[in-house]
Symmetry: C2
Subunit: 702 residues, 2 copies
């Protein structure tokens, strides 16, 4: 059961309007002034509450800095944001006096169903009112209880429409990692099958718990099977941001990193769409909560429809942006225009998807991936760093905001229902749900994988099942009914527990499981230097430390993993290979200035078409740019470049690249096979030998 009118506004009221209460009644002019004053007072309170959040974030940032500076790893910034949020929540809850001077709400009986817009005639003047939502009769007085608590309560749709998109886009935009594509098959399996399995298992377990509660008499309102499944979908979205931050810092195993990161990014999308389709499950007939085959298949159809629609939407906008940046190459001279265009096109994906009835957040994810894969190659050096920095800041602010809001919500949200049985059941269920998808799936995946996912990796993946921003946003989206309120409170506790306990336990767990960790953690000077490097040439050494680290690891041959350097193309699935060669031979040449010219890849019958689609500069740049055709932002060639020369030219250092290539005396062929081998690590040895010679200064600074 849902709110009859779930006002799904796009960009909406960050802070709920309220606060005006009827005071004494006097003459018209005086009254106007009084109302003005009250409106101003309300505006002031809004400002104060937003200010609270900003000061919270400021405090968080300063403490994060302290932690980073001192290398504290037991508490991540998101955990910290939650703690500060909790503290402020306690202060607001128990510190601020509950305003008692509110008048009784004006009641006005209407016939059948609510209008969205009301016109109210007040002594001859007409006032317009808009519908906010339904309020359960018992809560009427509760709602007005504490002004300040209401002020800091955001409209749930804010999370979905304002805060999640930058987080998700950033995740997609930084997915451009070589190891992600290496493990694509496994990642897709974990994300799709895994999330579905987890959702189903958690849903069923929770239904058992609910039955138990009913038996014990702990359940005071309805709790349907669909609610349990919805809880399963909500809580299945993992968010191992804490774990990944530590992985990144410790230079932990890159494949594990890719598996975890890829899974968490994609299962967010799966969880959203899953929960939408569970909500869409509405059997017809009398018993609206029994199983209905038609409704079930409709739900499955909704899932497939929304997912593929959002995927298409995102991919198409990404491709359009890539085409624009491909055609308007002279935009390079105006990075501001380029960046603005990139930002607008990415945002329009969200709106387009929402306008078509798909899920904007999912579309934004795939748009981010497409942008990173194609558009990024067409951008000027400055725009690359600008776009990344812009989305990095937005992502950082949004994420920390959500986590501090979570802390706050534990005390300021006024409809919490904490049920011990439900909470304990939920913890057990998410544990079992994660176990039930990680271990069996890994077993099946290992049948097909040449490089097996080891037991230690599986344990680590099992351990890293944190819940974060997405679970919270899904849970808070609808807290109208008893069951949803209980789900929300439980989700909040699960997020707290996992972020604090698992986040803090990552480093011990890594060493306990003997998972390979880089030789050294970077010193402050090194970080400083790498930042500077990034700034100088637009190459971000932080972006993808695992791969470069990997090459060294391979060379050093530390134990059982050293055969990874010999990994060959046979390892990747035929489907991926098919896609790769299509992408490399046709899409990249059409959409970016990299890749082989179409004239060499298209069959000869399409010669004319190929010539039309190939810009002259592709021929010119072919030799130079082929190696730059990167599935990873920091490829070894870039590092070489950074140190290899002192004169860096504006257009991407093609000169030095050529020099390096000729140095190796390797003739560049334009077959996609070779490029694939190179991208997938076949070229690791050769690249590494180059790397160690030239990259040496970076690694030697420790």
């Amino acid at each position: 059961m849902q709110l009859p009118v779930r006002s799904r506004l796009l960009l909406l009221l960050l802070l709920r309007a309220s606060g005006l209460r009827a005071g004494e009644r006097s003459s018209s002019a005086m009254e106007e002034i009084a109302t003005e004053k009250e409106a101003e007072e309300s505006h002031r309170q809004d400002s104060v509450s937003l200010l609270t959040f900003i000061l919270l974030l400021t405090l968080t940032i300063l403490t994060i800095w302290l932690f980073k500076h001192r290398r504290v790893r037991f508490l991540h910034e998101t955990g910290l944001a939650m703690i500060y949020g909790l503290i402020v929540g306690v202060i607001l809850r128990y510190g601020s006096p509950s305003s008692s001077g509110h008048d009784k709400p004006f009641s006005c009986s209407q016939e059948d169903r609510p209008f969205t817009t009301l016109l109210v005639n007040v002594s001859g003047k007409f006032f317009e009112y808009t519908l906010k939502g339904e309020i359960s009769p018992g809560k009427i007085h509760n709602v007005e209880q504490n002004d300040m608590l209401r002020k800091v309560t955001f409209d749930p749709e804010v999370f979905f429409n304002i805060l999640l998109p930058p987080i998700i886009f950033h995740a997609g935009y930084s997915l451009k990692k070589r190891h992600f594509f290496r493990n694509l098959g496994s990642i897709l399996a974990y994300a799709f099958l895994g999330t579905a399995v987890s959702c189903f298992i958690i849903g069923n377990l929770m239904y058992g718990v609910v039955k138990l509660m009913k038996l014990v008499g702990q359940l005071s309102d309805k709790f349907y099977y669909t609610d349990c499944l919805l809880f399963g979908a909500v809580i299945s979205a993992t968010d191992p941001v804490t774990v990944l931050a530590i992985f990144n810092e410790l230079h932990a195993d890159v494949d594990l990193y890719a598996l975890l990161f890829g899974e968490s990014v994609l299962n967010d999308a799966v969880a959203i769409v899953l929960s939408s389709s569970i909500v869409a499950y509405q059997p017809t007939g009398e018993n609206t909560h029994a199983f209905d085959a038609a409704a079930f298949f409709k739900s499955v159809g909704v899932f497939l429809g929304i997912f593929s629609g959002s995927f298409m939407m995102g991919a198409v906008t990404g491709v359009v942006t890539a085409l624009i940046s491909f055609l308007f190459t002279k935009l390079h001279c105006f990075p501001l225009l380029e960046t603005a265009l990139f930002f607008l096109m990415s945002w329009s994906t969200f709106l387009l998807a929402e306008a078509c009835g798909f899920t904007g957040v999912v579309a934004v994810l795939f748009c981010g991936i497409t942008q990173a894969h194609y558009t990024y190659n067409n951008l000027s050096v400055e725009s690359r760093s600008r776009t990344k920095q812009l989305f990095e800041v937005l992502h950082f602010l949004a994420e920390n905001f959500i986590f501090s809001y979570m802390g706050l919500a534990l005390f300021t949200f006024q409809k919490h229902i904490f049920s011990p049985i439900f909470i304990i059941g939920a913890f057990i269920a998410i544990f079992l749900g994660r176990a039930a998808h990680i271990y069996p799936l890994s077993f099946f995946l290992n049948l097909g994988r040449r490089h097996k996912i080891s037991w230690n990796f599986q344990h680590m993946m099992m351990f890293s099942g944190l819940r974060g921003a997405m679970a919270f946003a899904l849970a808070i989206r609808d807290t109208a009914t008893y069951s949803h309120q209980m789900m929300f409170s439980t989700t909040l506790l699960i997020v707290f527990f996992t972020v604090w306990i698992i986040g803090g336990g990552t480093t011990p767990m890594l060493s306990w499981l003997n998972i390979r960790v880089g030789d050294h953690a970077p010193s402050v000077e090194e970080i400083n230097e790498s930042r500077w490097l990034y700034f100088r040439v637009g190459v971000d050494p932080d972006q993808d430390p695992p791969p470069s680290n990997d090459s060294f690891q391979v060379l050093q041959g530390d134990g059982p993993d050293s055969e990874r350097g010999n990994r060959t193309k046979q390892e990747s699935a035929w489907l991926f290979r098919l896609w790769y060669s299509f992408d490399h031979n046709y899409l990249k040449p059409i959409l970016t200035h990299s890749g082989p010219p179409l004239t060499t890849t298209l069959p000869s019958c399409c010669g004319l078409l190929a010539r039309c689609l190939t810009t002259p500069q592709v021929y010119d740049n072919q030799e130079q740019l082929r190696e730059e055709d990167s599935d990873f932002i920091l490829n070894d060639g870039d590092l070489t470049l950074t140190y290899g020369d002192t004169t860096i030219t504006a257009n991407g250092s093609s000169g030095s690249r050529t020099a390096t290539t000729s140095l190796d005396g390797r003739k560049t062929k334009s077959s996609s096979e070779e490029a694939l081998e190179h991208d997938l690590g076949m070229g690791d040895n050769e690249v590494t030998s180059r790397g160690t010679r030239l990259v040496f200064p970076l690694e030697d600074n420790a």
Copy 2:
């Protein structure tokens, strides 16, 4: 007269909620589904309308690029955005069918005055409604006329609370120009006195026009003297963004640039506060629109209070940010944290000012100036570019959004009142108002200025009185009454006219007035190169081309202006000199890592205090950083640096700076006098001789 409840929400409904109409009434379940569908439909329409704006902006960006690429100067990007807005407005207005299927609004009589929150009992369920505003009875049906037109109509407060702050902050943050401080006295005079004079003259002239209209019988409702004054305040904010863009491109005279830019930035602030205080003018007693001395002085008090309060608020937050960045120097290692902190602190200024009842936009302006003056010096090289780029993008998007909305509003705003007499009167009034403040003020200023403002400059300033975003935002803020609607329509036309005609006429006007223009416009390659330079060392050559250009002009001695090189410290007023030495000797050392150590500037009795406040690195860096103490982002030393060495170190290239200084054989003293001389251009000759030797490559590329 105003809306009884002007809902001044902070971050509010970008798109008005509406769209739900009561359809057929059926059973409860079906009804819920139907309502859900309608809500989704409404959400979809919101997305479509936002999408419209994004596509508009995208189109604008692509056309801007084309124009910039082809060096089209007769139409600026803002003018272009308006044209696209107009086109889309026409399509929406005449293309979309006016939805007729709306039901009659539900009326519900209430006693005395409106509540903000209504609870409506609909067949047992309670629904919450919030107040939107008053609607004049005649408009009740008009309002619901066209759904799409309503959708693209934004809440006026969006402009004030979301779109203006980034624009104004960016203006303040880029005010850090040497020529601005040189002309500070004149700029303040134009901004404060000029705006007040202009407001008063326009107000009185318009009152005459209104009297005339009443005589002719063209006035159908009340139009008070205060309304006329408000119009004067609204329309007095100049926004010569078009002119300045062309100045920048043509390397036009730097002093004129500084005068125009400084005036327009500060008079925005003055205009906001002026209009607030005119609104606050509410005489007591029977005749509420007669002159009342008490109310008048109250208004003056409000003006002074709000202005100084906002100023203090902005300055204090800026100083606090500077202190944080000064104390937490290790933040340099984490530019993301630094940038986020900077962003949050700047935003908190806005909220703090609003929370205290001051004007957020004005506070944000002064915060930007303070940040540029102090905090900027403490930031890491990467954060400097990050913050600038971030605010540049926000400013760009917000500005173009406002201008395209203006174009749209001409057709989609449904309460236009175009009165030919009023419009013609307004055009004459703004012309006379600008003339009446530019010429007399320049005359008086010239009495005190050593370097006079020539007649040609005065004519150019007169000509550059464009109206833009600020006038629009002030005018749309309140369109409840007849007089305000007429003012809004007229303001819109004035903005269109001035941006198109004056923007297009700038280049001819410059040559007609014989105003010195740089030797050459930069070629695309040059722009490209300078961008690249910027990216490499964090020095933005675009930021302040006039000064560097100026030095060359001076050396070339082209005509009557060549004596400007001899400009000495006597030229600046004593008040400014006092402030400068205080700032240089005390504030800069306390707040930044530049300037002389406090131990040398404080009297010996405060020795202990001085030692406490001075960080060790100030002693170390003193020699190197003294020249970096920049009132201008691009000083000549930076240019030297750019070409002077190939090894660029991370922390601001202090090494090469020292080398240059010793090259000149000039002993660095720590007196503020010398620093002032240097900053104010006394050092021009010496700097230029250095400049020509080393900066040569940049200028020779043409």
